[in-house]
């Protein structure tokens, strides 16, 4: 069975995926995880989880191209420029209008 190993570099930091190991059961997985990811004192903690226990999500739907959901989908600079053009005050700061 494949187990995925995540390691935490320092307390408080996010766990990062470090690799995977093949082991017969959790007992072997722990032994091997300690051996391969803990022998040199490089992590303060490990998470070891069977790959089949992971819930994988890879399909995301965006049929209507709702770019405003995305961080990059609402270009403020662009919209500001369009508004200034409509108002005819592209460069006038304290002008009328």
């Amino acid at each position: 069975m494949i187990y995925e190993v995540f390691r935490q570099e320092r307390k408080g930091q996010a766990f990062q995926h470090a690799g995977s190991i093949e082991a017969a059961d959790e007992r072997f997985a722990e032994a091997y995880a300690r051996e391969q990811y803990g022998r040199r004192g490089e992590s303060v903690a490990l998470w070891v989880v069977a790959r089949e226990s992971l819930l994988r999500i890879e399909d995301f739907v965006d049929e209507l191209n709702r770019n405003y959901h995305r961080v990059d989908g609402y270009p403020l600079k662009e919209k500001l420029r369009e508004a200034r053009e409509r108002a005819g005050t592209a460069t006038n700061k304290g002008g009328q209008g």
Binding site: I21, E22, A23, R27, F28, A31, R34, E35, Q36, R39
Partner: protein, 200 residues
């Protein structure tokens, strides 16, 4: 060059005891390291090599303590004695290319060693007790590993047979098997190739 130290003086009791354990660990470490690259699967290759490395580290620490008692060096004790002068048990000398027999030896040795270390930790000699405690903390991982494999293989006929076959050899120390001499040849070949008068 064979150190004449051990023939010149009667070996103090403490050094005798330390040599027994050191020799066990050195020879077993050597045998365990023979699995590097050819263990049943990759994870076990790493784990078993790591155990072998620990064992040789233990041997070194024990030799260094004994060396002070004997007025020699750890390297001389480890490599310059003749095979018949080693105090290791017969169990560790055997080359066991079948995984189930290697694991059986591992299990038997770790059990016996745990008992031995427990006795030493209670020693009046502070240095011996201290070193035994340090070694014991590393051995905890070896024991975990051995128990884990024992659980997995306990119903396998070949493994059960191997345990029975090897058990009597755990405490046999009054001689050596024919396997020790060739092991010693290989283990000391680099050392013996050092040109006379040079310092490495």
């Amino acid at each position: 060059m064979v150190s004449p130290v051990l023939r010149r003086v009667s070996v103090p009791a403490r050094a005798e005891l330390l040599l027994e354990i050191a020799d066990d660990e050195l020879i077993l470490g050597w045998r365990d390291s023979e699995w590097t690259g050819i263990a049943p699967f990759l994870e076990e290759d790493v784990a078993f090599s790591s155990i072998a490395q620990n064992e040789i580290g233990h041997a070194r620490a024990l030799y260094e303590l004994a060396a002070r008692d004997l007025g020699t060096t750890a390297d001389e004790l480890a490599f310059d004695r003749k095979p018949e002068e080693y105090r290791c048990c017969e169990l560790v000398e055997l080359r066991l290319p079948e995984w189930e027999r290697t694991i059986a030896r591992h299990v038997l040795y770790e059990q016996a060693d745990a008992e031995r270390l427990e006795r030493l930790k209670g020693s009046d000699d502070a240095e011996v007790a201290g070193l035994a405690a340090k070694i014991d903390r590393e051995e905890a991982y070896h024991r975990l590993h051995a128990e884990m494999w024992h659980e997995r293989l306990r119903n396998e006929p070949r493994y059960v047979e191997a345990l029975e076959e090897l058990r009597p050899l755990v405490d046999r120390r009054d001689g050596h098997t024919p396997e020790l001499a060739p092991l010693w040849e290989e283990m000391t070949s680099v050392r013996r190739s050092q040109p006379a008068g040079t310092v490495w």
